[in-house]
Symmetry: C3
């Protein structure tokens, strides 16, 4: 609540760190998004490593700078790997991001997501329905509304702050919630909804940014800002989804300080 | 046999329903195609959900509007999920489409495909060789010819109508076969063969169209028409496969009533 | 050592064979690259088949013209399939390529890669660090240096020639090492490093080329030349990674004898 604790200067500084430090992000993500997530990290200035088998997941979390756990198409082995990698990340003090795809709508994976909260993610990144679904599975929310707006999920997000440092609900206006803070980000492009895996890519960038930012609040906001600006740039060149997907990756690469200062719509009210 | 039971007006009406109702398609598909299938559904006006684990596959089939089962890269878990999801779709009266990739050429998956026929798919969507391979595995065909043309597979297709409502064999001229009906569709682009997963995307669109069409024959024909027209539009802008893939997705989005009326080549002879 | 045994004419002749014979490549590859690898093979003139389950892997190796085993995201089932397919390829006298992604850095998969050497790959295709990591795991190298240049890995590559016919280390200058031969290839584009799975695609093309070349040395060099030239053509049209990915696939399709003669930088010194 109260005023934002993130400034445009914070976002610009985080972006500079991303380009200078090229953080390595271990991704345990779904089969739909895995190529796009890797390309999004590369385009934005990070390095991907999709190490998601139970034999290597924990060990690699000690090597990577951050970990993404995305539950889009969980296999039994990947769920086991997610437990191991998130526990190892917590143990090693590395940031890790939980993207609870489908939480609330699908009981089995919702339960997996709830269990993973025991490893205290740095950020839960999701859409509003998933935030509400995850909170609801813990008895703190009124359940899932698939047409929920991010603003509707703020109470549910707050109820999750006993487990996660930050909860970020993406939408027309992204809402990033921490203890005593609520940052809203406008902008972006409706075309993001017409291409699969853009949300998953945002989760991966959130992990990358958390590893090079002073705190997870700045990391989460900087990632959402980078994606919003990249999508706006991309939407200037096309209105169709196939070409937008490539243009969005180009946009992630194009984003620089000047574009961030021009296009980020940070609501610090 | 006899006259076609699908008109251009039927296709146009189905396309309008697709855009208005945005059907949710559960996809159990191969790792090669999974991203492209999701993007193709989004571009065409449907919504994808890749729920393919045994824990959730049956439950989600009750929520989705249609189910796609594609056997391109089957794992043991995915085969189990395919059984569960197709049975649940049948139970719930939801249309489901079987895409028996590699049937005839690969014995194990051919047997899986034959077993799945027990759940009575709305549509078997395949190329001519796969239709003949699947029929052959049931003893009703002369076996696989990898250079088979769709016209060559009509007898094999008919032999499968005791299990499937419709059998659609894609090729230079698509042949969609039902009880007492044979619809042929020309057009399309040879570039579809130069990009992986375009056939898989057609299977997913067939599932989507079946869920919003008066019957599976119209659904299957409308899906093939949508893909053919999108590919023709795409081929106007490029002759190379990398850029064609994005242009094809753009084309799926671009297709409208006017383009359907101009470009669909329905053979009702 | 000594002079190269590959000429520009050899590369041109191999490329002509690729287009004429359209070899079928069985790919056991990672989830990140699987779509891109299939599209790269199609664009270059080969045919992909992603048959990677234990039930079918060995049988299909007898049908395919070549086999690729890539350890990017190995599951337990895929490791088993890799053992079966590589053994079957060796048995059938088909070329097979090992791409030991992450070898040296990740102990479990490094051990898998070492075990697969027992099936005597035609080519080990990797970056310099992975070549050194794989050799190091057999006690013949000083270990992994993630910033290693291909030239640094030549001794490690030579130590692997008791198991592999050819070891190809990609980098700014690719180094292709065989018994008594060392071929260096310049050119290419730095953008290849900004898009995921370009190295995996090179591994698949190496398998394809080995199946239609007089020997594995020519096959490996021709594949690296095809990729280098395609990337140079692609980099003429864009400097951004999202559009480069599509342009690279277009470039693989565009490459012809004239472009090979103009752009291949073969170092026969």
């Amino acid at each position: 609540m109260s005023a934002s604790t993130v400034t445009l200067d914070d976002i610009v500084a985080a972006h500079r760190q991303m380009r200078e430090r090229n953080p390595l992000v271990q991704c345990l993500t779904n089969t739909v998004s895995v190529q796009f997530v890797a390309n999004a990290l590369l385009a934005a200035g990070a390095a991907p490593a999709m190490v998601d088998n139970p034999e290597e997941a924990a060990g690699f979390a000690g090597i990577a700078d951050a970990v993404l756990v995305n539950l889009g198409t969980p296999t039994a082995a990947q769920v086991e790997s997610s437990r191991l990698a998130s526990a190892a990340a917590r143990e090693a003090g590395k940031p890790w991001v939980l993207d609870p795809v489908g939480a609330g709508g699908l009981p089995w994976r919702t339960q997996v997501a709830v269990e993973l909260l025991a490893n205290h993610p740095s950020v839960i990144r999701a859409n509003a329905s998933e935030v509400m679904g995850l909170a609801g599975a813990r008895g703190a929310s009124r359940g899932v509304d698939s047409s929920a707006r991010a603003a509707d999920s703020v109470d549910a997000a707050r109820s999750l702050l006993d487990r996660a440092e930050i909860v970020a609900a993406s939408g027309d206006v992204d809402h990033v919630v921490g203890q005593g803070s609520l940052v809203k980000l406008g902008g972006g492009s409706a075309l993001l909804q017409r291409v699969t895996a853009t949300g998953c890519a945002l989760g991966a960038l959130t992990a990358a940014y958390c590893s090079i930012s002073p705190n997870a609040l700045i990391g989460a906001v900087a990632a959402h800002a980078h994606v919003a600006v990249a999508s706006e740039i991309a939407a200037r060149s096309t209105s169709r989804p196939g070409s937008f997907a490539a243009a969005f990756l180009d946009g992630l690469d194009t984003v620089d300080e000047s574009l961030l200062r021009e296009l980020v719509r940070l609501d610090t009210a």
